[in-house]
């Protein structure tokens, strides 16, 4: 049943070509269908789905547990919102394919399978990043993504050659027993590819040119949706299967990436690129806290990830449609923009504050002062340019040089969703417990390899 | 009633002896310049003459300024102990007197600038800057004294001195610094920039016609009386009323003699001077006091 999540979007993706006039409707309908299936299957959580009834070790299997459930629901929720918001349906085909690939990526329990989904996501994101004819940026992304993805392939094949099977649980268990050294090198190879998508600085050098191209669609799709899925895969690989730390080089590069991308954002004079750098910084913060491999820190990292993805969605949509807007004549959009940017910075009554608060509290409990100081310093720099941009847009000079601003305010649909997510941020800000229990559950599930393995060995089939 | 009598006593002494000593001062300056100089009661005549003339006023702030100036200085005067003759025995705290004194200065400054004449503003700006100059070393030296005797009550210090000798011998450097600052406070010759007659047409007093000039001269006399009596109380010890007046006269004559022969500092030179030599001496004094001289 859960395989429908992958099959339906893929099938209908190419059905849009003949049904030209229905194209606008197919994307939202499909995503809605996904959500319905997802919530219908909620009670069957914790099952393996063997494709073509081949048993776990040999066949390709999907694994549907709570972690996958929450990530899938978040991804598809965002996709639903995106599909309702985008007005140009040129990208409906790649979006559908990407949706299928994303669902597959989260569900799959198979190395090569995850490589294939990863590659499909990569290709579709290359296509989407050509919005607002940013061909050069997308080409650079393509070349770099291509080079980086070979590592994942090599890692997957190594795991197969040593472990004898492509199934994640099996091979990591066997290799973990035989020679953990190889497990570590494989994880490093996986990490290199995933960090490209996770926008950590040396790997995420392509982000500003792609995100900053001024379109509303690319940064939201790539920034909020794809990165969240990649975080799922990265945490699954680095936390569940391997119980040693990645080599320290990664930790220091990520720390440096947080501060440097904030500095990059501080320098920017263009709002789009500033937001691009900001999303790089927040994603590197999430990765940094994942690398610490402590359960409390990981749960707060996920809390921070979800609130940040929501806030970035609002910021990018407003910038995509209005450019540097004059909020005096777009009051509600302005309020939504300010709410989410303040939540990004961590002002008390918004969700972002609890994200940072729990993160710092967990870090201090683990005596990890270095990352705490880095987070505080990066928030300080972020505070500076976020305030600058807020004030710039609230108190913009009346007579803008480029004549009358063409799109004064967001169209109704987008304004509705932007306001909705700003209010969600406010609600979570007032009652953080709602999201925190979920993320604690996720973190706890991510850490016990035992449960993950028993289900496979216990052969619970569909 | 005894308090009213004492207050009246202080005020009348200040009025009478203030003006007489000023007359004597003018005679001494004249003598230095080898001429006879006016009779000792010349200042009385000057003040009373101005009070009989018909002058002009520049609006209510000008009048209010002059009255506030005179009133402030009179109020300060009532708290100053003259030797052992004190209007309010316990209340003559040094800081209260210094800051009540500034009420008069501020009133005068506000009144004069209220006339609208830029000469007055320049004069007042110079007066305030000069005050910044001499006030810092003066307060440092006096507070070192207060720290030494562990009290900021002037009359108690007067009694202590009558017991174990004048402070001028125990704190010679302090006395020197205080005297230099006194010269600045009195507005006597080396530090006369604020009321320089030739440069800025006698500074703040440029628009003072008739009675306002008289009232301001009275205020000036009372100010000098307060400044010198504080110096005498703190450094030349106790003794009864007449001894106090004698010491007052000697200090006054000494100040006049210095002012009769010296030219006038430029205002920034004065501040520069005050913040180098007296401040350094004040610090030596403080070091001695703290080191338990």
């Amino acid at each position: 049943m859960i395989t429908l999540l992958i099959a339906v979007p893929l099938a209908l993706a190419f059905a849009t070509i003949p049904l030209r006039k229905l194209a606008r409707l197919i994307l939202p309908v499909v995503v809605l269908a996904n959500l319905v299936i997802l919530f219908a299957l909620k009670p069957h959580v914790g099952k393996i789905i063997e494709l073509g009834s081949w048993p776990a070790v040999y066949g390709i299997t999907l694994f549907f547990d709570e972690v996958a459930f929450y990530f899938l629901s978040f991804v598809n929720m965002m996709f639903l919102v995106i599909s309702l918001i985008t007005r140009d349906e040129r990208f409906s085909i790649p979006l559908l394919v990407m949706n299928a690939a994303l669902n597959g990526l989260i569900l799959t329990a198979d190395f090569f399978n995850s490589f294939v989904f990863l590659e499909i996501i990569a290709i579709t994101s290359y296509i989407i990043s050509t919005d607002k004819d940013n061909a050069l940026g997308s080409f650079k992304y393509l070349i770099f993504g291509g080079v980086a993805s070979i590592f994942y392939l090599i890692g997957a094949v190594f795991m197969y050659v040593q472990g004898g099977t492509l199934n994640m649980a099996y091979s990591s268990y066997i290799i973990g027993m035989s020679n953990p050294e190889l497990m570590k090198t494989a994880l490093v190879l996986f990490a290199i590819t995933l960090l490209v998508e996770l926008k950590v600085l040396p790997f995420g050098l392509w982000v500003p040119d792609v995100y900053g191209n001024g379109s509303a669609l690319t940064p939201v799709v790539l920034g909020s949706v794809v990165s969240t899925a990649t975080v799922y895969l990265f945490s699954r690989l680095s936390l569940t299967f391997v119980d040693e730390h990645l080599p320290p080089v990664f930790y220091y590069t990520v720390l440096a990436s947080i501060v440097l991308s904030q500095l990059g954002a501080l320098y920017q004079k263009n709002l789009g690129r500033t937001l691009a750098f900001a999303s790089m910084a927040s994603m590197s913060t999430v990765v940094a806290s994942l690398l610490t491999r402590q359960e409390s820190v990981v749960s707060t990292a996920l809390f921070y990830l979800f609130t940040d993805a929501l806030a970035k969605f609002v910021l990018f949509t407003v910038y995509g449609n209005l450019g540097v807007a004059n909020f005096r004549n777009a009051k509600t959009t302005g309020i939504a923009f300010t709410f989410s940017s303040l939540s990004l910075v961590g002002v008390p009554i918004f969700a972002g504050f609890w994200g940072k608060y729990y993160l710092l509290k967990a870090l201090f409990e683990q005596e990890n002062y270095v990352l705490a100081i880095v987070v505080l310093v990066s928030t300080l720099i972020e505070l500076a340019y976020v305030t600058k941009w807020n004030i710039e847009q609230w108190f913009a000079k009346k007579e803008t040089t480029k004549g009358e601003i063409e799109n004064i305010d967001l169209p109704f649909v987008q304004k509705l969703f932007v306001l909705l997510s700003a209010l969600i941020l406010l609600v979570i800000g007032l009652f953080p417990q709602l999201l925190l229990d979920k993320t604690n559950l996720l973190a706890e599930k991510l850490f016990d390899f035992q449960l993950y393995r028993d289900i496979f060995f216990g052969k619970g089939g569909m | 009633m005894a308090v009213a009598a004492r207050v009246a006593g202080v005020l009348l002494t200040a009025f009478f002896f203030g003006l007489t000593f000023e007359g004597i001062g003018r005679k001494v300056t004249a003598r230095i310049q080898k001429r006879y100089g006016p009779p000792w009661y010349q200042n009385f005549i000057d003040v009373l003459k101005t009070l009989t003339k018909h002058g002009w006023t520049h609006g209510w702030i000008f009048d209010f300024g002059v009255v506030m100036a005179l009133g402030g200085v009179i109020a300060t005067l009532t708290f100053v102990p003259l030797g052992n003759f004190v209007a309010f025995p316990g209340l003559d705290n040094f800081f209260v007197i210094v800051y009540l004194f500034t009420v008069g200065a501020l009133g005068m400054a506000m009144g004069m600038v209220g006339t609208g004449n830029p000469w007055a503003s320049i004069g007042v700006a110079r007066a305030l800057t000069l005050m910044l100059g001499y006030e810092v070393p003066y307060l440092i030296v006096i507070t070192s004294l207060l720290y030494n005797f562990k009290t900021s009550n002037i009359s108690t210090i007067v009694e202590i001195q009558s017991v174990n000798g004048w402070n001028i011998f125990r704190f010679p450097i302090g006395a020197l610094v205080a005297f230099i600052c006194l010269q600045g406070m009195l507005g006597k010759e080396p530090f006369e920039a604020p009321i320089a007659p030739a440069e800025i047409a006698s500074g703040p007093m440029v628009e003072l016609s008739a009675k306002y000039m008289g009232l301001l001269m009275l205020m000036n006399t009372f100010m000098e009386f307060v400044e010198i009596s504080i110096f005498v109380d703190l450094f030349l010890g106790g003794g009864n009323y007449f001894e106090f007046l004698l010491k007052y006269l000697t200090v006054w004559i000494f100040a006049i003699m210095i002012s009769a022969v010296l030219p006038r500092f430029r205002i920034e030179q004065a501040v520069y001077f005050y913040w180098t030599v007296p401040l350094l001496l004040a610090f030596i004094q403080v070091f001695l006091v703290v080191a338990g001289m």
Partner: protein
């Protein structure tokens, strides 16, 4: 003669299996880093893909076994490990997809900037205009 040529050829080739892919990948990476022409970068990306595919296939190779083509002549038992070869198939397909997309992007870039040379690209007016958008100074400087 023909035979010993292939023999001699075989000794020359009896180097470890990962020399060729390593060589191909390093040429590809050098190609991307050094070339100033975008199209050449795309070609070197293709090179890297092929290098990796060869690596995967050589991993699955068992000495003296036959290619896993299921025909009457070859018995079941004498096959090399067929799975890496299956993986390679998909990898090749993906490589084709990526390269195809890269080529279309190059056409788009050429239409817009008029050149594919990186040096000329930098000074094209299109790039300048894009640069100006990047730094229109908001009047609030931090």
């Amino acid at each position: 003669m023909l035979y010993d040529l292939s023999e001699m050829f075989r000794e020359a080739l009896s180097v470890p299996y990962y020399y060729l892919p390593l060589f191909l990948v390093s040429v590809g990476i050098y190609g991307i880093v050094s070339q100033r022409n975008l199209f050449k970068q795309l070609v070197s990306l293709g090179l890297i893909d092929t290098g990796v595919n060869i690596l995967i296939i050589s991993l699955g190779y068992i000495q003296g076994m036959e290619a896993p083509i299921y025909s009457a002549v070859t018995p079941i038992a004498k096959f090399v490990d067929p799975l890496p070869q299956a993986l390679v198939l998909t990898a090749i397909v993906i490589g084709v997809g990526v390269l195809g997309l890269g080529a279309t992007l190059l056409i788009k870039i050429h239409e817009r900037y008029g050149t594919l040379e990186l040096d000329e690209l930098k000074f094209s007016k299109e790039h300048q205009r894009w640069q100006e958008i990047m730094d229109d100074e908001g009047d609030v400087g931090v």
